[in-house]
């Protein structure tokens, strides 16, 4: 599904990613862990198409096409979804309006008809329930005045609606209390499917207790230093990143 080969990226003159190689097959959940500043968030941003980063070398093949050639919205249409570490506020725009516009934009490009208002509402209510969110959420402005936990739930709610093929979850566990962590984690688990892959960027192991990854990769200084199964995450939790960074 996703093949990252020798990916290099920089911000200004500063190289951040220095040759990332990663293969993600359909149905797999990969966790990217690593210390602050290792390039974890940069990786998910580059994959989603943020133009603050300049790709200087390498390629990313997603479902047979060169992902880096696509605009951010084209990636969304092709089934890529990024859950933001810091979801952005859009004042004056109701959440329900964004959800509907996003869903219909993606549906249009998948050759599906626009959902009628009634159908949409039914669907969104179903997803709200999963995320244990109140319907009042729909009528608040996008992320405006949301608590950290509400913002993250809202991201996963969007993911549930958009049903991406490749979900990039950037530090979705940060800022969550224990209960919210469980809701968000289970929300992610529900999305696991044979035709869907997840790239989970996280600093801590706690989310991985709920969402068991198939693979764990440790990113440091812009390179994947170590890969393993979910037991690697537990090891890191005990021993920290120090040994790996030095490697």
């Amino acid at each position: 599904m996703l093949s990252i080969r020798n990916l290099h990226a920089r911000v200004g003159d500063k190289p951040i990613l220095k040759g990332i190689n990663l293969e993600i097959n359909a149905g797999e959940v990969h966790a990217i862990m690593g210390p602050n500043g290792s390039g974890k968030s940069t990786l998910s941003s580059v994959l989603a198409g943020r133009d603050d980063y300049e790709v200087t070398d390498g390629e990313v093949i997603y479902m047979g096409q060169n992902l880096l050639d696509l605009e951010p919205e084209e990636r969304a249409w092709a089934g890529v979804f990024l859950s933001f570490q810091y979801p952005v506020e859009i004042p004056g725009v109701k959440n329900i309006y964004l959800l509907k516009a996003a869903l219909n934009a993606v549906r249009e490009h998948r050759g599906l008809p626009e959902l009628k208002a009634g159908e949409f509402l039914k669907l969104v209510r179903e997803k709200l329930k999963v995320m244990q969110m109140d319907e009042a959420f729909l009528h608040r402005n996008v992320n405006e005045g949301f608590s950290g936990g509400e913002k993250k739930r809202n991201e996963i709610l969007q993911m549930q609606l958009l049903e991406p093929t490749l979900a990039l979850l950037d530090e979705t566990d940060s800022g969550l209390d224990v209960d919210a962590l469980r809701v968000v984690g289970e929300g992610i688990n529900r999305m696991r499917a044979p035709d869907r892959s997840v790239l989970l960027v996280t600093h801590y192991q706690r989310l991985l207790d709920i969402v068991k990854p198939d693979f764990v990769h440790v990113l440091a200084h812009g390179e994947i230093k170590l890969s393993g199964d979910h037991t690697l995450a537990e090891k890191l939790e005990r021993e920290g990143y120090e040994g790996i960074e030095a490697a």
Binding site: V88, V93, K94, Y97, A101, A105, N141
Partner: protein, 480 residues
Amino acid sequence: MSQQEIDQLVDQDYKYGFVTDIESDTLPPGLNEDVIREISTRKGEPEWLLEWRLEAYAKWLQMTPPEWAHLEYPPIDFQSISYFSAPKKQGDGPKSLDEVDPALIETYNKLGIPLEEQKMLAGVAVDAVFDSVSVVTTFKEKLHEAGVVFCPLSEAVHSHPELVKKFLGSVVPQNDNYYAALNSAVFSDGSFVYIPKGVRCPMELSTYFRINQQNTGQFERTLIVAEEGSYVSYLEGCTAPQRDENQLHAAVVELVAETDAEIKYSTVQNWFAGDDEGKGGIYNFVTKRGECRGDRAKISWTQLETGSAITWKYPSCVLKGADSVGEFYSVAVAGKKQQADTGTKMIHIGPRTRSTIISKGISTARGQNAYRGLVKVLPGAVDARNFTQCDSLLIGDQCGAHTFPYVEAEEPSAQLEHEATTSKVSDDQLFYLRTRGMSEEDALNMVVNGFCKEVFQKLPMEFAVEAEALLGITLEGAVG
């Protein structure tokens, strides 16, 4: 997103820049007493109105153009402008749509103004002002039954001279300001609305202004009188063809609201803004003022200003009656090399008078947008209240937003609040929405519409739809 990309998105072509090929009866350029006499004669005006015009002209000659606005433009040569233009075949004015020149109807259709069936079903009466003469008035009959007068001002001069005489210039005096004085001397036509005591106007009243002739100024004058306990909602839309020269538009709007009366006045202004280098476009110098003369009277101005090379406009409320209310909701867009200096004046005279000002300024490309507002509370306006919110949105980094709020409170019990923000459409916002499948253009529209929502919600539903057509942007929330 680069500046160039942003410019491309924002800078959509002016859709209404076509010229209608109609023979016009146009006076040669120039302004003097004879020209004013000629205008008056052609319109068959009574002597008192000619005298009124000449009086205004004499005052205008003594005045100088205002220079305090945050605007830059070369001096206007008032002798190079023609002060009267009418489509030729009009004669006394058509009695029905059938008599209107098909080319005119075609123009309105291009503008998306449904003069015909659909609009009638929607229940909107349209008084269309084409250059200077009002060409068609629909729905007169139904309004007549309700006792509402809605007709060209030139007609009202003959049909309701006592009303016109009583109210004309009573809110905006001849010498109020330079452009109001000019308008008083040469005003061509406009709408007259009279809502009798206790009548709720059965439909939204709508007028479209359009400047067609080259080198003509448009000087329309609108007068709306709402008697005790009456209500009217009035919609005004404006467009102009694309021309290289600058054209002058100096209008006057006067509103009178008596006891318990309410007037809602909405504008979508989409005059040609000039090109990217600031060539051409309308100079829009407009005086709009309403007086709440009676207790509990209410006047609301809602405006969406997207066009004109220069906008100089301050729709105001004079709150005389006790407990009267003034409102101003505005979205002003300045792109290209447009300059807007717009805002409002709220003059609190009566006790417990209240006013609300919500101003949203959007600047993009090399546009300069200034909010200028005055809240004045006179002694005796006990417990007067004002709330002002003034937000600016910047798109790109070559535009400007400026805020000039003036407050003069001479009544110690008055409570005044002022909030102001300036924000930029951020790359984060656009990227966020694009990752959700929105195109760059849709993402920008969504952010901008969110910013404007408080104001768009105040537009009548009918107009919100037309505003959408005129702007070519989606009105999030307000229409659905």
